[in-house]
Symmetry: C2
Amino acid sequence: MLVERPQPIARQVTKIISERIRGQDYSPGERLPSESDLAEELGVSRATVRSALGKLAAEGLVLRKQGDGTYVNQHIIDVPTRMGAMWDFVRLIENIGYAAATQMLESDIRPATAQESALLRITTGSNVITLKRRFSADGKPVILVNDSFPASLFDDPTKALEQIEGELPLRELLWQKCRQAIAYAIINIKAVLPGEDAIQLLERDDSAPLLKLEQVFYNNDNLPILYSVSCYDDKTLGLRLVQTWV
Amino acid sequence: MLVERPQPIARQVTKIISERIRGQDYSPGERLPSESDLAEELGVSRATVRSALGKLAAEGLVLRKQGDGTYVNQHIIDVPTRMGAMWDFVRLIENIGYAAATQMLESDIRPATAQESALLRITTGSNVITLKRRFSADGKPVILVNDSFPASLFDDPTKALEQIEGELPLRELLWQKCRQAIAYAIINIKAVLPGEDAIQLLERDDSAPLLKLEQVFYNNDNLPILYSVSCYDDKTLGLRLVQTWV
DNA sequence: TAGTGGTCTAGACCACTAC
DNA sequence: TAGTGGTCTAGACCACTAC
């Protein structure tokens, strides 16, 4: 169950090429070796190389031109927030160059509200575990997150509450403690004026608007396992992302 | 140059399966036929079926379970905004169920500002074409867009200005008139208080915050070809999207 | 026209799950 | 244990571009 399996070859190739680009073994704007040459050099099939390059193209790290070649996209190297990483706040903050810190403000286990039971599709009154966390960049609070998930995911919910630490990304926590993998999420983005709560906890001296992200995460069996609401100080952080059409 | 080429087989397969799901030939939550069965039925290789299913899985329309099967994801069918379609405002509005209308408020050709010339990487003072457009949902104004792109993309910029109509998506326009295809975009999402301009043009009776999207679009040669700033009334429209981890 | 990326096939073997 | 999706290969042909 917990044996270390080797990474798939395609993933290894993705990593190798990605590191060559980031390490400037392939310079910004430069044309990569052809797919056939890469396949020969790395001792894999061309299909495997194409699979790896496809991943990098979807991230925007390379641009492909039929009949010509594959080029390094210098602009994307500095853009910290690829879409998939958008919700990993610690990595997001660190990528921009700040020191990230996580603080657990509250954690509780209590009956679900009507909204929670609807979104998480559990019976009203059954227990949810709730967390209120705060993320800081260089000591300045920038993100406020309220999470709630069904207590039934854990064998022993009360014990679970003690084990939860602020540092561990919820994605990891849900996998390690509950064997729950997140398959997809439905996300709602809004602009809001901060409430009293947010003004105080984000230490705002004004009431400039915040980004609010409401997210419901589903597992591979299509069951909701996490409801999360984040208030996001875009003045300090900036929510940047890359969109590709491949 | 303009001959109609048949769609790639994988794309056709994607379309067929997608339509079967949306038309409930495969019911919500149901397991699809196995990849081998689909391949046989459609007369294509399993690799082609997998390529098509990969696209649908990335959109969140199906969930794959190794050793088990591929399942229809009923939740996603109603979510209008897949990430790729997020910037096609007309489709966005219509998908939610409103009647969409586009209005060209201003169009101009003038020397680039310092910011524009920096973002579009053209020499200061060279001409840009600028558009101010407004999108409505059921007659209610909901999105305000300011576009600017280098006049040099057109052979005859002055003439081009006359040809531009509000209805045509810029993506189409850039392709049809300039043979420019958008490869990727870098997007910035912010929350702002609406300016005088926006309050008036979006006919707001309050000054509730708006979403602001700043986007720079690049072509396949990694040259910026379009700078676009959108103010977005999330109260009426809601910015919803699906994120998958595949 | 040589060389590039884009598409597709047939086949093999593996990891995993429902039964 | 039968059947599923996940990975990988070798090879073919095509569309397209730089030269």
